[in-house]
Point group: C2
Chain length 423, copies 2
């Protein structure tokens, strides 16, 4: 089964918004074994939409249209679909009732324009939207399907997950596809591929391995296709276990879990708390940790010691250390770790100090020089980065390395590995 993604809206064509929907939808469809034949965007122009629908319809079994629904958009997609399928618009009473209910909850009354928005193409099967006013619409013709959804990501994700994908599975039973994803950190795609080369060669024909690299992290995704889902699950679990053994020291989690979240999980398990002492990352590292709900269970807080005064006054870094080694040095990040532990009473602290750039570099410490340390009261691990990727990328990279260092530190503690100085 193949799908084509069509987005409707001037706001995409003038570059006002970045289309993040397509990537998410493509991922979800791929996980169901549905290949994306292509995707395109058109503006809010009736004939262009009709033409784009026709093109999409010719390219795939399933066309997913987002955008161009809702009162302010003048329901341009809805009218185009009605014309494309040659049907009338009819008043949809249930949508009107839901709309009245929503407005009542907000203490408002729907107006004539809102009521007009409840007309739907006659052949549409309406899929209720629990996160907004505009429902999704499902059309079938000649064994093909077109689905139209609002473009708001929050609403689209709900409609895809809870309405469209289950409906698809019911109407078009595809061959079972099962996945297992290992989340890894600390080794690049090439390094992992070298380790997994024999494993990959020995994989059964119906199982494929994909490397999905991100910044200092690689997702390893196994995909198995076949006819018997129970047998497939058994088979893929065996391969997953083999793979995990080979790359075990880089695996931090499963199923798209962010590294910061995995660290939170480890800390909760160990009933330990974490603190940060950030210089060049300027809050970015802590923001990654606190982006996850429930982070207050393990994250105590931290100090952003951007100015050296704060390194001294709030983190107790010695003036002599700063004078002798500089703020960007192993000695300084080690003292920052101890200072953060002392200031916050956390069990573990992370410190980062570096030259994010573009200014501030020197011959001995060029832009991109970054020191990271993770430690408790007795042991510390440090990492030293030296590659300049531009200010924002340097910060992101340093934060990622720091998070992985926490993971390694926690694992080493777990395995009773004796940590000495710089390891």
């Amino acid at each position: 089964m193949t799908a084509y993604l069509l987005t409707v809206g001037d706001e995409i064509l003038i570059g006002q918004i970045t289309d993040t929907n397509s990537a998410w939808m493509a991922q979800q469809l791929n996980l169901q074994g549905i290949r994306i034949a292509g995707k395109s965007s058109v503006g809010d122009v009736h004939p262009s939409i009709i033409e784009a629908m026709d093109y999409a319809w010719s390219k795939a079994d399933l066309v997913l249209v987002t955008g161009g629904l809702g009162a302010t958009k003048d329901d341009i997609t809805k009218k185009a679909i009605a014309e494309y399928f040659g049907v009338e618009m009819v008043f949809h009473d249930e949508t009107w009732k839901r709309l009245q209910y929503f407005f009542k909850k907000l203490g408002k009354t729907p107006n004539e324009m809102n009521k007009n928005g409840c007309f739907m193409p006659q052949n549409a099967e309406i899929l209720t939207n629990d996160r907004g006013l505009a429902p999704a619409m499902w059309f079938e013709k000649g064994g093909k399907v077109m689905v139209s959804m609002p473009g708001v990501p929050y609403e689209m994700m709900h409609l895809m997950t809870d309405r469209v994908l289950p409906r698809l599975k019911k109407s078009f039973p595809v061959s079972p596809v099962v996945h297992r994803t290992l989340m890894t950190a600390g080794e690049g795609e090439t390094g992992l591929a070298a380790l997994l080369s024999d494993f990959e060669d020995a994989l059964p024909n119906n199982i494929k391995l994909a490397y999905l690299p991100a910044f200092n992290q690689v997702r390893l995704r196994l995909t198995a296709t076949g006819s018997d889902e129970t047998a497939l699950n058994k088979q893929i679990d065996i391969e997953k276990a083999k793979m995990e053994t080979i790359v075990s020291k880089f695996v931090y989690g499963y199923d798209d879990e962010p590294l910061a979240k995995a660290i939170g999980r480890m800390l909760v398990d160990k009933k330990m708390t974490l603190a940060t002492a950030e210089s060049c990352t300027g809050g970015y590292l802590s923001a990654q940790l606190t982006a996850n709900a429930g982070s207050s269970a393990y994250f105590k807080g931290g100090v952003i010691a951007y100015h050296n005064d704060l390194k001294t006054n709030l983190l107790g870094v010695q003036t002599a250390t700063l004078d002798e080694h500089g703020a960007v040095s192993e000695a300084t990040v080690r003292e920052m770790v101890q200072g953060a532990l002392h200031a916050t009473s956390a069990d573990i602290a992370i410190a980062v100090s570096g030259i994010a750039g573009p200014g501030g570099g020197s011959a001995t410490k060029p832009v991109g020089t970054i020191w990271v340390a993770v430690g408790n009261q007795t042991h510390t691990r440090v990492a030293h980065l030296t590659i300049d990727r531009g200010r924002n990328r340097n910060v992101e990279y340093a934060a990622n390395v720091a998070l992985n260092l926490v993971r390694v530190f926690l694992l080493a503690t777990e395995k009773d590995v004796i940590l000495r100085g710089t390891e």
Copy 2:
């Protein structure tokens, strides 16, 4: 003149990467007065690329193709273009020389595959890429143009800015288009539109106003078209001045400047420094401030007081205040401001405390309740937010409100407005 954007690559169709190139390219082209007729993506499949090129070519005067260039991609786009235009591939000596030079700098030697990558379609005009190995290619036929570029954003942006757009202006002199953008904060699109209603109605026919809303910020963009660029600039500057007068208290900068950067500029002007005391924003606010190069000139640092212990120990918030009013309260953020000023010796401090969610809410303080305060040693301004938009959006919104409050605080100081308590 119209353009069509075509992206080539399986990585987009499987949702591995989000296409951020298109939005950026669309913006740049719109600024030149070039309208985007549509955009589409195809996988790394030769016949699909040819077909997509043909479709794009039929839709616009200019087709911009990104992706599918470079050794690892097997130069699939290049071959498709050669076939599409019916030309041979010829060895391009200059590209080969540049490639050898790049490799030498890295202490490496190019291999046979690298050399094969230097074959280019015979009719291509080669546009040198200073940020990578694959150049851009420019093709003309029957008054239309197709340009192919690598998909790496950093390389594409350089090629568009320094090669393609100047080349376009030379070959296709379009009518002059001039723009003026005001960056505003603190008022929504609807509120600004109401203020600017008369102004907008009175605008000359050749000048349009666009509202480009982001989170708690709105860009107001005037676009003027005509035949005489000097006259246009004069004309648009008059309208810009009128518009700025009407919405002056919301204007913080020009030309896409981020709010955090504008605040940095204001602080540098006043020779003042800033510190943060973050609870629910967890580092996100500071990360916005430090995302701008040169922020160490005015940002001293701050305390992320996620746990109440840190509010007390590092920021001197009184236990009695926390007990009586709670961590999420006006009284607490006021004490956090004073604590941050004391801990960092900054001239101004920002404090944020709230319930980001999804957990932690109560009947009296539901998720989304956030207090923000900005102050110096004698005066403080506070803001109270009460809308839940989901954890991450709550954090972003709070940070944006906090930044705008700094701006208002600095302006009020400037204008000798007497600040009393909560204003």
